[in-house]
Symmetry: D2
Amino acid sequence: MPDPAPKPFSFPLRVYWEDTDAGGIVFYANYLKYFERARTEWLRSLGHEQERLRVETGVMFVVTDTAVSYRSPARLDDLLDVTVHVKHAGLAQMTIAQQAWRSNAQGKTLLAQGTIRIACVNAGTFRPQRVPISITSSLNKNNE
Amino acid sequence: MPDPAPKPFSFPLRVYWEDTDAGGIVFYANYLKYFERARTEWLRSLGHEQERLRVETGVMFVVTDTAVSYRSPARLDDLLDVTVHVKHAGLAQMTIAQQAWRSNAQGKTLLAQGTIRIACVNAGTFRPQRVPISITSSLNKNNE
Amino acid sequence: MPDPAPKPFSFPLRVYWEDTDAGGIVFYANYLKYFERARTEWLRSLGHEQERLRVETGVMFVVTDTAVSYRSPARLDDLLDVTVHVKHAGLAQMTIAQQAWRSNAQGKTLLAQGTIRIACVNAGTFRPQRVPISITSSLNKNNE
Amino acid sequence: MPDPAPKPFSFPLRVYWEDTDAGGIVFYANYLKYFERARTEWLRSLGHEQERLRVETGVMFVVTDTAVSYRSPARLDDLLDVTVHVKHAGLAQMTIAQQAWRSNAQGKTLLAQGTIRIACVNAGTFRPQRVPISITSSLNKNNE
């Protein structure tokens, strides 16, 4: 019998004053920050630190495309879970699907979801580079 | 002979330290802020202030969808121009196309472009509302 | 024999891309955000949520004065600890001393320290209010 | 008869959604950003661009101390003026006094004021450096 689909990586984070706007809710642009924190922790969970990667290999990841749909507002003190799911991993880029959820006594609510495209580049010239083999291989292991 | 296409609204802004990240370039999430500043100034150029709108009519605009493509990095001290073009104006929502450009001695460079979908909502309940007639009519005048 | 001085409240947080600037380090203004996150979690550890406080009592805390000294730069991926120590608790305001530290293989480094003065105000009028008794009493318990 | 005191440098800026928080007002940490924008434009008015300075001389300015007092809240759409006044210019550091004002039909209101201490450092090592002579001399000219 096949294994059930693996649970996507999920990262918890809290909404602070800095995240909100005068509408009383999380400022929509901040979901891009939340998604990025989750991707960073997902990479860390696979053994990769981006600052070390840059220093050791001279490559870094840059975001080339973002598409986000904002479904329901989050408010101060809300506790969110942000998921990371690799949709496509290419030689020099990756496409990641992400969602932000709130779970509380009223149930589970999808707040925002999006697709983030990331390219691997030379940290000095911003020219495309192959994703380091160490990362590619840990992605493959993670998907087995 | 028909008029040439009208020039889109354009808003100039400067890149400061607060906008950059450790890659030495503008942090990609900040283009959503730049686009928002330009939309705010475009509405103001049509005679509408959002804070007054909220107080007087109880409605506000919320962003429901953003799709942005990041083409070329901007750096500290760069002077950008951000354009606003209404792609679609509905009863309770609008779709806006926006671009961020840098013009300098090396020529004109497209840095980022995107599509922002905005909904008109009740400022208390976040339920959809019709776009106030004062705004609809100024959009129509602007497009004639 | 008297108890040893109690350990100050400490909150861990990670440095992400959003926190850095083109100097390659954490943008100094962000330490105010870090300090605020730690104060929020300190209040939560005492049983107080600010959003609930505002809804239930109509009061909120506003920052009236900040003094911060930046000692050593933090970088992407650094893991920090931010401390909270109540220097003075008055009827309608509090003064909090805070520090941000980095602990790693090279030892423990003080990155920034500051003093934050907070006033309790009516959330609608911004007029000074007495700190709710529930908070005052939990501060006293915490200091016993 | 001596000249009257020179008018301090003043930089206008607008409050956008990104600047506000759930209290309905400008998030206090953002005054550090406003002060920085004004200092950057003040340096530019004297002929100095920081990015060019870093590339050409290898030095940059870092903020070492900030003390800010928040007097009155600013709101969405407010138009502010931020002033810059050099209190002290040393060999490797400067102390700048700054204020943020709002002028509207109700008169002129002081929103925040602060003192920012800035050090000149090597952009790679963060070690103290003398302020470039080109800047020192333009400060002196400006104060004559």
